[in-house]
Symmetry: C2
Amino acid sequence: MTESTSSTASPLSFELITTEGRARRGRVTTPHGQINTPAFMPVGTRATVKGLMPRDLAETGAEICLANTYHLHVAPGDDVVKKLGGLHTMMAWDKPILTDSGGFQVFSLPKLKMDEEGVSFNYKKSGKPIKLTPERSMLIQNNLGADIIMAFDVCVPFPCDYRPAQEAVYRTKRWLERCKAAHKREDQALFGIVQGSTYPDLRALSAQLTAEIDLPGYAIGGVSVGEGHQLMMEVVDATEPLMPKHKPRYLMGVGYPEDLVEAVARGVDMFDCVLPSRYGRSGVLFTRRGPIRVTKGKYKKDKYPVDTQCTCYGCQNFSRGYINHLLNSREILGSTLGTLHNITFYQDLMRAMRTAIEEGTFESFRKAFLDEYLSDDKKDDLNLHFNPAEITRDDLSWDTEHSIVPTKQDLRETKSAGTNKTQPSSQKSPSNKASSSEQPKKHKKSRKHYEKRSKNKPK
Amino acid sequence: MTESTSSTASPLSFELITTEGRARRGRVTTPHGQINTPAFMPVGTRATVKGLMPRDLAETGAEICLANTYHLHVAPGDDVVKKLGGLHTMMAWDKPILTDSGGFQVFSLPKLKMDEEGVSFNYKKSGKPIKLTPERSMLIQNNLGADIIMAFDVCVPFPCDYRPAQEAVYRTKRWLERCKAAHKREDQALFGIVQGSTYPDLRALSAQLTAEIDLPGYAIGGVSVGEGHQLMMEVVDATEPLMPKHKPRYLMGVGYPEDLVEAVARGVDMFDCVLPSRYGRSGVLFTRRGPIRVTKGKYKKDKYPVDTQCTCYGCQNFSRGYINHLLNSREILGSTLGTLHNITFYQDLMRAMRTAIEEGTFESFRKAFLDEYLSDDKKDDLNLHFNPAEITRDDLSWDTEHSIVPTKQDLRETKSAGTNKTQPSSQKSPSNKASSSEQPKKHKKSRKHYEKRSKNKPK
């Protein structure tokens, strides 16, 4: 089964190669080459995936990376990026690039003022006032020159009352129309974004309103804001059936390995998240048996690679003991190797899912992967300290203000910020499951919790 | 002219391939391969050259790298390094490695107590008392497992009165005998170190005393402690003629490109310095027309590579504008690219000198290189802020305590620390020449100063 589609003037086409249940194996073609889907897109906020040279990033298997409109507008300036030849030339990355619209970032800023026109805020360092509108986001993204650009949308926090969530859906639709009108470059593909918080009817409404506008791709936004795995999957279930079948579907800012597997099972094609790179820099490394915190004392003399099945340069050459030393000594190489490994792990996972769908074995892969990944044996006390909202949004303070590896002070601050967040206890986040100080029986609970989280199987 | 020598039981041999004047083209053979000399050895203090993966380091042309006894004894511990398979295995660097003895580091520590036995101090983080002796340094270096290990010597500060400098020469000799007796591994080559401060007769005495002990190589230590280019060359002139001709000569902790060229002209074979990596991380990048500070506003939109003649991955792919953005945004990639470029620049310089000596054109190369490198055209106001002692010694606070790129506060602190140092004005350091705030006519002065500094031509 191979079906292909592309809008007449669209620089992007999507080929749906095969499916298994709702899971899709596809291929996106852009002016800078192809992206095999399901795909994970590493995040290079300021036009670099922190700690990696582009050749290292390509080596992970990544076929596309992200950059951030808001951050690049602030520095070096989208005009400077344009002068330096656009993102591809500046970054020396000749594969596809996607820029987000800045919407997600600006909605996390304090002292925000929003009206129908757009969003005003002061850039916190210079105090310089900035106004972002759909038109301005398009202008900036046209200057940056990514292959895929995102609509400027209204992203509501979690939890959110029904009325403001509903208003955000309609405003997002009106802003999408303005984005499409303002978008000037025919070599860039504009994706629309579905909002609607965690309300199934608003998600359905937003999916329909967004799909009314003919675009080369569509995204599910407003997730990964602290709602947790189960609600996130409910959002996908409410949205995905109403999204155009022959266009790529992109779940924004997601997520943990288990989120990726479950969302692929629900028909999602594309993902992005800072999680593997951010975790990698601070020493939380993914393995097929679950994440480990390699900075712990138990790894100090450990001669084994992080994951014996991993083919990354780090796992082929270095021991956990050495990486433990590097990160505990705050050496750059520790962050580089951690990032390289985690992104390779994510790309390997995506590749395995693509192969499984091709071979019609996705359901068994899904079960086998989650069984091993979520098994309780030998799990580290990760003590992650992070609130998922802090992790998955590429926030504006963490990496900029602090050094590459968080200090104890950073972690304390992040932790206290995280625990102050209001969150229904039934929607515990994946990271909370491993916070031992609060949950002594974390492993059993983790397993039980996951089973509860994942009971909503895709239709 | 090819002459070779090796001590009977020595794991290291040195072949003197050819000479031009006092300049020597040679080859050192170790259990982990050959080192073409003159050679520059990048410094990987904590068993990593900051910001580079070993494969990147090999790509610069480096054939050997350094690691530090003191730092590795403190963390992860030389016993841990041994458990992880020794330095080569742990670092995944299968070429030669040299460890220094820790002597240089411990003499920069506060609250130091020295007697005939050794040196006692408190490790500043834990307050744990540590005693380093010749025997202990050998034990640690035997555990680390480098191809070349250095004697534990007495390094006096600059300036130093005659009497303590003389005492240090004799104690260094006694400690060298103890090092040789304590050194247990036949696959590691022990180098002796010549001291004597800036007193020619003490340098000659120390060279003779050291050469009395048969060793596979000899070093000139106690330089790069703030004495400046001219005095450093005078030290080499007083020492080198008394060093064994058929053994490698290693000038420790040196230095600037002009130092390397002038010391090669005086018969030195090996160098190490943190300067190219430390400068690289903070954006001071070497070019054939002199160093530039790429973080300056003038480079923000500069589309050219750092050095159009450079073949490093950075210069082949990225603009000064992008590197300016990366470093100003405190992105790791900026430090990685800066380090990769600077070490490549140093390796290219060494290769060019080796070729010139082979072809009998070293004298003209020396003049042409220095003419271009020290030319005043288009020179940046580098405003380096550093005292050379701060730069060339891999001190114990700078990189550990602060993030990878110095903040303004760091620079202010380093600057004030630097300017408080007592130093005769006639012995201005190379970095001072470019400190514009104090020396408005820096370029003319720089040239004149260099000519003054370099008037002592080798015999």
